[in-house]
């Protein structure tokens, strides 16, 4: 008799996801889906609000990466007040970047230490009672301590620029609200109250050494697990094609590294993307128009960014990027589990960039806000921790938002996560007589590599857990496993 497995909710991800796996009467997988079952409607209810409220309102999409939404919206609103990114004062640009690097640093630290490391340290088939952050704290207290302090450092940077760690307010149309003081920045440089930025750089390098050691011991697993061809999308620096998180041009490649999109300024994004919908998920499926729905989808996030960039401007991270590229002889990397390695290279990049910015006296300047000539439309694109984040607003002559379109990182990764689920279903579950907890966790391991934020992607709120259900060929539930 054919069956369907359902994993609901998916654990150690941000948001509520569900997986279904359809089996035939010989336990062979016939199909598999990653469903996102939340709905919130942020794009709709922001309509009618004054445009200057957008950066404050939309950051409520998420408690993990509100800064990314705040900054993407701020970049869009800058355009509505007549300013392109390079029109902002240098101090404003640098303070926003400092905020952004603090955000990416803390988010990546959270993902690696709290969510992903239990699978790597204990194995995906370890006892789930142990395979979690509490288990990591018990067996690897030094690692846990560093993870906590790295996340804290990023959060303190956010608090420095935005006033508080979650849902602070840093930006104003055309700039930022405040500079930082010499005393405030000393807190991050001198190491007296918290470990210094130099310590953050050292620890970031250490954790890359850990993942490289893990790679040496588990190369076959990392190369093989949930590996499949895909496009890769992200921003790159407008001048030199280097890794860029705050402002750049869009670039995409296909699975072989051929450029499919290049030098596309943010304001032109909607000339190149469509969003498909499926009846079984609230999450849309973006793809490149000129390639089409079937092959035009892209991964975004750390792996994509390291794949598409031509280099990294900070020396230590660039050295690590070259080593990462050498692992595939310079070719494009389509191996999902390498996302963890790429994410840690970005942690190091953020730490180096934070040091550069903290030591730059421009962040002490009072030259914070510029003005321009009013426009009716604004588009802000930023590389959030999980990937390319697009905010697009239109306003009427009374300054009210009339249209809002948000394409969130996790939405770009929707097809990629579905591919990951199908890979695990076909390779690890299909034909097996019994579905075990370890098999279920492998599905989660594959999804977790993308660090999906389902609250952001559906603009939804709610709980976060995973559920596994078995259906027969007629759609009847044969078995169900819930995990909260």
């Amino acid at each position: 008799m054919s069956q369907k497995l359902v994993i609901d909710p998916v654990t150690r991800v941000e948001g509520h996801g569900k997986v279904t796996v359809h089996l035939d009467d010989k336990n062979k997988v016939t199909d598999a889906f990653f469903h996102v079952v939340e709905f919130r409607g942020f794009e709709r209810f922001i309509q009618g609000h004054p445009y200057w409220e957008a950066p404050v309102l939309v950051q409520r999409l998420c408690g993990i990466c509100p800064v990314s939404h705040h900054l993407a919206a701020a970049k869009a609103i800058d355009q509505i007040v007549g300013l392109d990114p390079e029109d902002l004062s240098l101090p404003a640009q640098k303070l926003r970047k400092l905020l952004h690097f603090g955000q990416v640093f803390q988010s990546h630290a959270l993902h690696f230490f709290y969510l992903a490391s239990p699978d790597l340290l204990f194995g995906y088939d370890a006892d789930p009672v142990k395979r979690n952050v509490v288990g990591v704290a018990m067996e690897y207290p030094s690692l846990a301590k560093k993870g906590i302090l790295m996340r804290k450092f990023g959060q303190e940077i956010i608090k420095l620029v935005a006033g508080k760690r979650i849902h602070g307010i840093a930006t104003t149309p055309g700039g930022v609200h405040k500079k930082i003081t010499v005393k405030e920045r000393s807190y991050f440089l001198d190491g007296k109250d918290i470990p210094s930025i130099d310590t953050m750089i050292d620890w970031s390098a250490e954790i890359i050494d850990f993942i490289k050691g893990y790679h040496q011991k588990n190369k076959v697993f990392l190369d093989d697990f949930a590996s499949y061809p895909s496009g890769h999308l992200g921003l790159v620096n407008k001048e030199n094609g280097f890794l860029e998180l705050y402002d750049g041009n869009l670039r995409a490649t296909d699975a072989d590294g051929n450029i499919t999109l290049d030098d596309v300024p943010d304001v032109d994004y909607n000339q190149h993307f469509y969003e498909a919908v499926e009846k079984w998920s609230y999450l849309k499926f973006p793809y490149l128009k000129h390639i089409g729905r079937e092959k035009g989808w892209n991964r975004v996030g750390p792996l994509a960014r390291i794949n598409i960039c031509d280099g990294i401007e900070t020396p230590l991270a660039e050295k690590e990027r070259q080593e990462f590229k050498a692992a595939t002889n310079g070719k494009i990397n389509n191996m999902t589990m390498y996302t963890h390695w790429a994410r840690l290279i970005e942690i190091l990049y953020c730490a180096e960039m934070m040091k550069n910015l903290l030591e730059d006296d421009d962040v002490l300047s009072n030259d914070l806000v510029r003005k321009g000539k009013r426009r009716d439309e604004g588009i802000g694109i930023i590389e959030a921790p999980r990937g390319t984040l697009i905010h697009h607003y239109e306003v009427d002559d009374k300054d009210r938002i009339t249209r809002c379109n948000l394409i969130v990182s996790t939405t770009h990764n929707n097809e990629a996560m579905n591919q990951a689920v199908r890979w695990v279903a076909q390779n690890e579950i299909s034909g097996k007589p019994k579905v075990t907890e370890a098999m279920m966790n492998q599905i989660e391991v594959a999804i977790r590599a993308y660090d999906p934020c389902l609250s952001c992607a559906t603009h939804a709120m709610g709980q976060m857990p995973m559920e596994l259900t078995i259906f027969d060929q007629y759609g009847n539930i044969l078995d169900e496993k819930l995990r909260y």
Partner: protein
């Protein structure tokens, strides 16, 4: 203001956009201006792993949160104990887990107490219900007595 020597932290947990879920924050609002110098206060949406590091710097920690259960006296009070639970996400760590992590990672286990104040409404709304306000007053009175009338 007299400094009593030991470091004390009061953590208010909640969300002011969710009606009575603001009880933890409202509690902090009421006490923070009049606390002795050795007290610190924190507003939190949820407890997280890094709060283990935060509480490791204190001798005494009070966790204050809204509680869905309706208690006769309007609140519940008890001592906190470290518990090794595991969570599926970064959300919703309980005080026991945070205490456990502090003990495991930092070898510090502050004395702790949990104050749960009964709330009735947790919908999207700003402002406490009348019953929650009443319960908050009772909890404040109890807390003031418990902590030697620290709040003037």
């Amino acid at each position: 203001m007299k400094n009593y020597g030991i470091k004390i932290l009061v953590i208010g947990i909640g969300n002011c956009g969710r009606a009575d879920d603001a009880l933890g924050w409202s509690f902090i609002d009421e006490i923070k201006e009049n606390l002795p110098d050795n007290y610190d206060c924190e507003y939190k949406y949820q407890l997280q792993v890094e709060d283990a590091e935060l509480i490791s710097h204190y001798d005494v920690v009070y966790f204050v949160d809204a509680h869905k259960e309706q208690f006769d006296k309007g609140f519940t009070w008890g001592e906190g104990h470290p518990v090794a639970t595991h969570s599926f996400s970064t959300h919703e760590l309980d005080p026991g887990t945070v205490l456990y992590l502090s003990k495991s990672i930092y070898n510090k286990l502050p004395k702790s107490f949990i104050l749960g104040i009964s709330g009735l409404s947790f919908e999207l709304k700003i402002g406490l219900s009348d019953k929650a306000k009443e319960n908050l007053s009772k909890a404040l009175e109890f807390f003031n007595q418990k902590t030697l009338n620290l709040v003037t």
